[in-house]
Subunit: 240 residues, 2 copies
Amino acid sequence: MKTAAIIIVGNEILSGKVEDLNARFLIAELRALGVALRHVAVIPDDVEAIAAAVRGLCARVDYLFTSGGVGPTHDDLTIEGVARGLGRRVVRAPTLEALLRAHFGPDALDSALRMADVPEGAEMIGEELRWPVCLVQNVYVLPGVPEIFRRKFLAIKERFRDTPFVLRSIWVRAEESRLAQGISQVAAQIPEVEIGSYPRSDPDGPVVRITVESKAADAVARAVARLVEGLPEASLLRTE
Amino acid sequence: MKTAAIIIVGNEILSGKVEDLNARFLIAELRALGVALRHVAVIPDDVEAIAAAVRGLCARVDYLFTSGGVGPTHDDLTIEGVARGLGRRVVRAPTLEALLRAHFGPDALDSALRMADVPEGAEMIGEELRWPVCLVQNVYVLPGVPEIFRRKFLAIKERFRDTPFVLRSIWVRAEESRLAQGISQVAAQIPEVEIGSYPRSDPDGPVVRITVESKAADAVARAVARLVEGLPEASLLRTE
């Protein structure tokens, strides 16, 4: 099973000035692609914080995505942070520099040309994009502006596609603690499924949604059947 | 300046089955309270992942909040993870056990009584709550169900109140790279303010929002004045 993590670089998110849209978007996309997301970190615009997050996550997942911090200003520190996290130097990419000079003209400012800097060994992917995605090792460096983030991810998403997840849900009217033992048993018997249990208050009494998921549809079906069998009498509301 | 971090424990968030509402709520609340949020981590229902996140964050901030994983089922592992992260044992809290027995009656199930388990040395806070908040060291353990998460946080929020932040914004019509040098200079001259720069595409050309913030209103005012002075001619749209 392919796994992923997301690093959102952004003081603006942590301070509530801007709401995160990119993690939310990517969570749904990765799920639909069949990729298991293991971690989302929202961290400040700080080189050491970025480097520490990259260092901590890149070896634990197949794909690590970063969002934000790639513009021309003093608070754009993701390239430096990713490079430091991977133990690489920052170098100027000639292909990106050429793109910037074409856009800004011959007297392009240094601050603009900074956007051509990448961690050494980075690869540019997403050929049909006007501005490519920087991939270094297993780290995909994406911009923070949500429309651009989406456009870039959509341009490269097919490379991540994997066997889809199968998810089923069982809605039960009961106190969650009355279901706990039965759920634990099935979880132990069929370890290839992941079982979640989510209580909700409801005017007619407590309701629990039990979720069962896996990439193996037969294991999901078996677990759902056993869970339903083990429910307290007349507590099943519906399955989905 | 008081600082905080948030750990959202939840496979259901990582897999996109449920949208995170608790981090979003707490980001806004902490901001309004004048507390600087340094990190948000969304992690799986896994004891070692929880322990590692707690261990990594608790010494770096004044307040660490966890959300989720505190019910009676096999996937509720936050108490164990927090205890392990802080190097403490899990013990049963007599006050919580009494509350559970009062609710579930004399034949309360073991799975229900598990909700009385806390890391050793935990304190119960939020007296007016039917079910208190578990505070251990600087870690506030909150439930994942959004309505209950909110109710509990609102009951204890005044203990976190600090000097408020002052935020001002400058909207500019320009390419961000043309502003970078001026912003960097002011950021270096007035280090007590935090300056952010957020480009946006607009049909009439590029727009950048420059944000200036600090707990020192005079420093913010000075930085805004210098930034406005340094803008390219006729590029200022408005300040706020």
